[in-house]
Amino acid sequence: MTTIAPPQTPAPPALVRTFRRPAFNIDWLGLLPFFAFIAAFLFFPAFSIVQRALTDSTGTITFGNLGGLTNPVIVQAYRSSVIVSLITAFSGVVFGGLLSWAITLGGLPRWLSNSVLSFCGVAANFAGIPLVFAFSALLGRLGLVNQLLRPTGVFIDPQTWLYSMAGLCIVYTYFQIPLMVLIMTPALAGLRKEWREAAENLGATQGQYWRYVAFPILLPSLLGATALLFANAFSTYATTQALLGAMAQTFAVTIVIANQFRTDTFGDPTLGYTLAFSMMIVIGITIAMYTYSRRIAERWLRRAE
C-alpha cells in the first residue's frame, strides 16, 4: 500500500515535425527576421549602454566610471527615487490590495467588480501628462478642492501637497493602485474556496484562516507585486517631468538621465551611460525578485489542488 505509482505525465502531442531532426535545420531561418529585429533594436542598444558604461577612453573594461555616481546631485536623485518608489510601492500594495480584496472576496455585486477591473485597466494606463493635469485641476491653487473649501477658509497649498515629494507620492499612487488591482485580483481569485472550507472544517476562525493559510499563500504574489510596483515607480518619467518641471531633476533618476543625455549637465559624456547602467541594475534586481516570487506562487497554486 505504500507504493503508489507517480502520475504519468501526458505524452507530448503529435507534432508536425518530430524531435529527431537535428537542432540546426532550416526551421531556424524562419525566426531570423524576429531575432534580427530584436537584436538590432533591443539587444545591441542595451548592450551598448553597458559597454559604454564599463569601458574607459582606451577601450578597456573598467568599473571606474561608476565613480561618477557619487556626485551629490545624483545621490540626491537616487535617494528621492528610491524613497518615492518604496512609499508608493507600499501604498499601492496596501490600498490596491484592499480594493482587490473588496472586489474578489468582499461580496460586492459581480457587475461592480467587473467594472472596477475594467476601470483599473484604463486607469493604470492613464499615467503621464493627463494625470498631472487631473491632479493640478484637483489640488492646484484654483483647483476643485480649494474652490470647494473656500467658504471654510482652509487652503491646500499645492506647493506642499502637489509640487513636492508628497505630491509625487500622491500622483504615483493613482496609477499604482490600479496596477496592484490588476496583479492581485487573479491571485486572490486563485484562493480556492476549498481551502477556506477545509480550514473552517478543521476548526479555524476567519482570522486563523487568513493568518495561517490565505496570507502565507498570497505572500509570494504580494512580494512580487511590491517589486513590480517599485520598478514601475522607479522608471516613471513623464509624470515626474510634467509635475515638477525644472525641479524634477532632484527627485528622479530618470530625469537626471534624460537631462544628462540631452545637455550633459555634468560635463561628463560617459555619466549618462553609467547612470543608465545603474538603473538597469536596479530594475533588473526588482524584476528578478518579481519573477522568482511568481514562480513560487505558480508552483503552489498549480499542482496543489
Binding site: 500500500m1 505504500t2 503508489i4 505509482a5 507517480p6 502520475p7 480556492r192 476549498e194 481551502w195 472550507e197 477545509a198 480550514a199 473552517e200 472544517n201 478543521l202 476548526g203 479555524a204 476562525t205 486563523q208 495561517y212 493559510v213 502565507p216 499563500i217 505572500l219 508552483r299 503552489w300 497554486l301 498549480r302 499542482r303 496543489a304 489542488e305
Partner: protein, 361 residues
C-alpha cells in the same frame, strides 16, 4: 435514537430545489454512501451536515444535539474534498496538525497524533513533503489523515476519488474503508460511481433530482431495485417494456412472447416496465427457470471473466451475461438462441421515484 439524524431537510437555491424532504437515520460507526448523478443533491446534503450550507427547513442532530445552527468550525466533523484542498504553503505534517493547532493543542500532543496518522496512511517518510510534490492519491490520503487528526465524530467524503486514476481509486477506497473500520467512525461517502458505493458501503442512499429514491444495503439495492431509476442506475440492467396479458395470473407479453412474473400487476395500466439482470438469464434450462424466450444473437462482448451477449427479441434488445468458460462453445452472431430465466428475476418496476419514507429500510 440514531447517532446522526437527518430529518426533513429541504434546500433551495433561488428558484431551484436542490434537496427535497431528505430524512435518514445513521447509526454510529456506519459507512453510508450517497449515490446519484450530478445535480441530484447528494453533495448539498453533505455540505449541510458539514455546515457549509444551511437547510431552509429540517433538522440535523448529532449524538442528540441539534447542529443546524452551529458554525462549520464548531461541529467537530471531518471533511475530505474532491480536490484534496491541502494547504499548499504547508508540508504534510503541518497540514495534518492544522486542526489541532487552531485549537491550541500543545506541540507534543500534536506531533504524537500526527505520527499516528502518518502511520495510518502509510506515509511516514513523506512527512516533510509539500503538496505539490505529492501525487493525487498521496494528497488525498494526507487529506484523510488531516480530517481524522481532530478525532471527528463524523467523517464526510465528497467524491474523494473522482479526481484520481482508476487503479488508484480502487486501492484508495479499500484503504478508506479499512481505516474507517479500524477507527469505527461514522462516515458519509458521496459518489456518482455506483461500483464504488456498492463495494464499500454498509448502506446506500440513491438520490435523484433532490429526492431519495431508495435506501438499502448494496445487495438490497442491486437485487431489489424499487424504482426504475434505481434499477437503471445500478449495475447493468435490462429494462424492458411488456404488455399486460393476464392481470390475475401475472402474465405479460414480452415482444409477443408470454412470460410469468411474481410481482403484482394490480397497479399497472396497459404496459409495465420489467427489470431483468443480465446474470439472471441463462442459455441452459434449470428447474427454476419458468420462462423461456427466443432471441437472435446480435453481438458478443468478451469482458474477461464475463461474456456479454446482446440478443434481439423482436424489437427490444437484451443483454445476457455468462461466465467465461473456455471449454464451452459460444453462439455466433445471427444464431437463434433460447433465453431462460425465473419468474422472480423479471421485476415489475414502479415508474415514479420512491419517496423517502417508503424507501427507508
Amino acid at each position: 435514537m440514531a447517532f446522526l439524524n437527518l430529518t426533513h431537510l429541504h434546500k433551495t437555491f433561488g428558484a431551484s430545489v436542490a434537496v427535497q424532504d431528505f430524512s435518514m437515520q445513521i447509526e454510529r460507526g456506519e459507512f453510508i454512501s450517497f449515490l446519484g448523478p450530478s445535480g441530484c443533491g447528494k453533495t448539498t446534503v453533505l455540505r449541510m451536515v458539514a455546515g457549509f450550507e444551511r437547510p431552509n427547513s429540517g433538522s440535523i442532530t448529532l449524538d442528540g444535539n441539534e447542529i443546524v445552527g452551529l458554525n462549520a468550525n464548531k461541529r467537530n466533523i471531518g471533511m475530505v474534498f474532491q480536490q484534496y484542498a491541502l494547504f499548499p504553503n504547508m508540508n504534510v505534517i503541518d497540514n495534518i496538525c492544522f486542526g489541532m493547532k487552531v485549537v491550541g493543542t500543545d506541540r507534543a500532543t500534536m506531533l504524537t497524533r500526527a505520527d499516528e496518522m502518518l502511520n495510518l496512511i502509510h506515509m511516514r517518510e513523506f512527512a516533510k513533503r509539500f503538496p505539490h510534490q505529492l501525487s493525487g492519491g498521496q494528497q488525498q490520503r494526507v487529506a484523510l489523515a488531516r480530517a481524522l487528526a481532530i478525532k471527528p465524530q463524523v467523517l464526510l467524503l465528497d467524491e474523494p476519488l473522482s479526481a484520481l486514476d482508476a487503479k488508484i481509486r480502487v486501492e484508495l477506497r479499500r484503504e478508506i474503508r479499512a481505516i474507517q473500520r479500524q477507527l469505527d467512525i461514522t462516515t458519509i461517502f458521496v459518489t456518482h460511481d455506483q461500483e464504488e458505493a456498492l463495494s464499500i458501503a454498509d448502506r446506500i442512499v440513491v438520490m435523484n433530482k433532490g429526492f431519495i429514491e431508495q435506501i438499502g444495503t448494496p445487495r438490497e439495492i442491486y437485487n431489489n431495485p424499487q424504482t426504475q431509476f434505481v434499477a437503471s442506475f445500478i449495475g447493468t440492467l435490462n429494462v424492458l417494456t411488456a404488455a399486460v396479458a393476464n392481470r390475475d395470473a401475472k402474465k405479460v407479453l414480452l415482444d409477443q412472447q408470454e412470460i410469468q412474473v411474481v410481482d403484482s400487476l394490480d397497479s399497472a395500466n396497459g404496459s409495465v416496465s420489467l427489470a431483468l439482470r443480465p446474470e439472471s438469464i441463462s442459455l441452459t434450462r434449470d428447474d427454476d427457470h419458468q420462462n423461456c424466450v427466443n432471441a437472435e444473437v446480435d453481438e458478443l462482448y468478451f469482458l474477461g471473466s464475463v461474456v456479454r451477449i446482446r440478443a434481439r427479441l423482436h424489437e427490444q434488445f437484451v443483454n445476457v451475461d455468462t461466465f467465461n468458460n473456455p471449454g464451452a462453445a459460444l453462439p455466433a452472431r445471427g444464431d437463434q438462441i433460447a433465453l431462460y430465466f425465473s419468474a422472480s428475476a423479471a421485476k415489475v418496476l414502479e415508474s415514479d421515484a420512491a419517496k423517502a419514507g417508503q424507501a427507508a429500510v
